[in-house]
């Protein structure tokens, strides 16, 4: 009985770790991507990219700590991430920033499906912040940030 309870606890813990590692991977990709985007931006857009880059870097640190606390090793950032299209101008940089935020929203949505209520709430709050950044880069809002069409 006790063994079964512990088994369940481990399963819950490992689902949380897997979901947190996915968020960390998305945040690491965002840090790298905002570096690429920022290089193509100027003025207010450059400042916004710089600000968002900082937010994602801080999120990486926080997530790494959360994963370590749970007894796992945080996944390392890749040396480089290939953007989905060449980032050779301000327009592409803005599209990339919005796409990076979409990836981050999807990753936090994974936390919202966990049984751990604190992680659910954390994921939902972070989703809002990322959705606001995505909408401001894109200049428009969407009905279901992060949800794949197949879930609707």
């Amino acid at each position: 009985m006790a063994r079964r309870a512990r088994g369940r606890e481990n399963a819950v813990g490992s689902a949380a770790i897997t979901a947190l590692q996915s968020v960390l991977a998305a945040e690491n990709a965002a840090v790298y991507g905002y570096g690429l985007a920022g290089a193509q931006l100027s003025g207010g857009q450059f400042s916004a990219a710089q600000q968002d880059w900082t937010v994602h870097r801080m999120a990486c640190a926080a997530l790494s700590a959360m994963i370590t606390e749970r007894g796992a090793a945080p996944g390392a950032a890749a040396v480089a991430y290939r953007p989905p299209f060449p980032v050779t101008g301000a327009g592409a940089a803005v599209s990339l920033a919005a796409m990076l935020e979409d990836g981050v929203i999807r990753a936090y949505l994974g936390l919202v499906a966990l049984d751990d209520q604190a992680l659910r709430a954390f994921g939902a709050v972070r989703m809002q912040a990322a959705a606001i950044r995505a909408a401001s880069w894109r200049g428009s809002t969407t009905a279901f940030p992060g949800l794949p069409a197949s879930a609707l």
Binding site: L109, A113, A124, T141
Partner: protein, 159 residues
């Protein structure tokens, strides 16, 4: 033929008990539907009072219609469960005194709705929690976008 103990373990329904109420997840879903409907109503009241805002507000209203459709689509109440009907929307308040005030009011309502969705996550199934979190994120973006709208710039008569 099942042993008697196995049949007993299946839990025969207690014939004297009152019909079960809706599950926490159904109650959560119904609360979300009511909240979403009242946001749609607020938009419609404001659009009736300030038709010049239609182009600005329509994207948000149509996204709320999508939220409402998704939420209602998930509401399946088993026939043996007794539920009270969804509350009818509260009596319409008089519209705000200016288009700017109306936009501010909608922004506040969006923010409050997003916060309330977060309060419902704990009682939701994982899949409903994801839908509610996504709707809350959409509402948070509406609040942000509404705060940057300038009705006076679009149409001086509307400000």
């Amino acid at each position: 033929m099942l042993p008697v103990a196995a049949i007993a373990a299946c839990g025969a329904p207690d014939l004297l008990a009152p019909p079960p109420g809706p599950s926490p997840s159904v109650r959560t879903l119904r609360a979300s539907i009511t909240a979403e409907q009242s946001l749609v109503d607020a938009y419609q009241r404001i659009l009736a009072a300030y038709p010049a805002l239609a182009a600005m507000l329509h994207p948000f209203l149509s996204q709320h219609d999508e939220h409402l459709a998704q939420l209602k689509g998930r509401l399946v109440i088993p026939p043996h469960v007794k539920v009270t009907p969804l509350p009818s929307p509260s009596a319409p308040a008089s519209p705000p005194a200016s288009a700017r005030a109306a936009i501010t009011m909608l922004g506040d309502a969006e923010r409050a709705a997003a916060a309330a969705q977060l309060g419902r996550l704990a009682a939701a199934t994982p899949s409903l929690a994801q839908l509610l979190a996504s709707i809350a994120a959409s509402e948070a973006t509406h609040a942000m976008a509404l705060s940057s709208l300038n009705p006076a710039a679009l149409n001086p008569a509307a400000g």
